[in-house]
Amino acid sequence: MIRNTWVVASKDFKSYFTSPIAYIVIAGFMVIMGWMFFFNLSHFNMQNLQYQQFNMGKAASITDGIIRPLYGNMNVIFLFLVPFITMRLFAEEKKNKTIALLFTAPLTLTEIILGKFISSYLLIAVMLALTFTYPIILMITGNPDLGPILTSNIGTLLLTGCYLSLGVFFSSLTENQIVAGALTFAAGLFFWLISWATQSAGPVWSDILMYLSLISHYNNFSQGLLSSTDVFFYLSFMFLGLFLTHRVLDSYRWR
């Protein structure tokens, strides 16, 4: 089971690096993140300086001033980048008919889907690992609270996993990578912004919409809190996305 999944995952992970996609995505990500980090950092320093100069009391903490905006922004960037990472996973295999190799190999559909999902997750993990440089810089130069940094990483990983499961699902629906990517982005945005509708919805509906919103479950993570409700929500979301992918591909075989 694990070996089969790993065979698919490692092949797909490697093939990210045989096309320019991975390099473009990673480079774009690092440039934007780097720019945001140093912008936040200098803004934070300036503010701190002003506070000291005019004796206005304590400025925002590193957590509030740098860590939270940093990971908040990262989540938005992942919303944009995930479609590029997942769009080819099944769509390309269907288009090139290479899916026949996977479907006639002695693997279960679950192993194939998990393999693809994990390959994309690995790429995200690599990108997240590259951003460890920022907390390390903060630790060298200052004294940041480590709790929120840790939970922000966990939260980001879980939230991005939800985008990935949406991406895997939409990639299984079509042969067209562009369509798969566009739908992934639209759906990700929908589950992100769904909380906005809570203001105009009635009390029951606003609770439901708030619960379904991907971003509302991230708040606790950004404050250093690890709540099982949020973890459970993200894991269920991913499970549902992959389960639907299973259904789609199973019925694809029937046609």
Partner: protein
């Protein structure tokens, strides 16, 4: 090794294959012959576990396609119509990936890859990107993928399509070499392809089996007897009557100076006799020749609706 009974497949409301029943014995090479759209690929997709059947039972290497799909797939090497190759991988990496997918044990991985690459003549291009190879070579890579786990059953959908004549001969030799150890079922819509490699053929047309037999049996079963044609100077009635008396002659039709002599199927060789009588009757023989019913004609006979066999 392969048992198919009452196999039916619907695409929506239309059936692509209907009530197919046939068997393939261990070590046999069987050709699946039929015109475009006959349902060859559909059947092979079902046999390989790629696609479920709508009705009927399929057993390959002792495994039921719906009850034991994983075991069945482990025993089958399948080459689809379009070789399922990744253009961005090298030949060697791809064959190794296929071997891992098919659960070749780690210790035998290298050996299996070398075996498949050598057997399909891919040695010289093993380090090249598949995307840069010619269609024929990509076809071989597809074949290497089907071969790499040394499966007892090989299902090859039009294995020589797109190859040049030299490559066709090589691949045919390869497939023939597989017989004995492997059970092979291959499809084609051209007859010489099948006659060159197969022991037995299943002729399929419009989703139904038209015939299942050895090539020799099929030829003799369908032969309407030999046909001779004789052109004479003076087609005298009594001379023609005398020819009709020869045993083995079924009928003679006359069109001007040309006599078409149709023989009973499976008769003895009597050409000498026919010519002797014609000479004795002073018909003045100008020309005498035999017309063979070719396999191509049989194939057409079997698969053309206007001329039921």
């Amino acid at each position: 090794m392969i048992q198919v009974s009452h196999l039916t497949k619907y695409y929506g409301a239309r059936s692509a294959v209907e009530d197919l029943t046939f068997e393939v014995a261990k070590g046999e090479i069987v050709g699946f012959l039929g015109p475009n759209g006959a349902g060859k690929s559909t059947t092979m997709k079902i046999l390989s576990g790629f696609m479920p059947a709508s009705e009927g039972n399929v057993t390959v290497a002792g495994f039921d396609v719906t009850k034991n799909p994983i075991e069945l797939k482990r025993s089958v090497g399948y080459l689809p119509e379009t070789p399922p190759v990744y253009g961005e991988m090298t030949v060697e990496d791809y064959v190794e990936f296929a071997a891992k997918l098919k659960q070749v044990p780690k210790t035998q991985l290298k050996k299996a890859v070398t075996y498949a690459v050598d057997r399909t003549g891919l040695g010289p291009v093993r380090k090249r990107l598949i995307g840069n190879l010619s269609k024929g070579y990509q076809q071989r890579v597809g074949l290497a993928q089907a071969l790499v786990h040394n499966p007892p059953v090989m299902i090859l959908d039009e294995p020589t399509v797109g190859l040049d004549p030299k490559q066709i001969i090589e691949i045919r030799e390869l497939i023939k070499g597989l017989a004995g150890d492997h059970t092979v079922i291959l499809s084609s819509h051209i007859l010489p392809e099948v006659t060159a490699t197969c022991h037995r053929i299943v002729v399929i047309n419009r989703g139904k089996i038209a015939a299942v037999d050895t090539i020799e049996q099929l030829t003799s079963r369908l032969r309407k007897g030999l046909i001779y044609s004789m052109t004479v100077k003076t087609p005298l009635i009594q001379g023609i009557e005398a020819l009709k008396q020869v045993s083995g002659v079924q009928s003679i039709t006359q069109a001007g100076p040309k006599l078409v002599i149709e023989m009973r199927p499976g008769g003895a060789e009597i050409r000498d006799q026919l010519v002797e009588i014609a000479v004795a009757q002073k018909l003045g023989v100008l020309e005498f020749s035999a017309e063979r019913v070719s396999l191509e004609e049989i194939f057409l006979q079997l698969t053309t609706e206007e001329r039921p066999a």
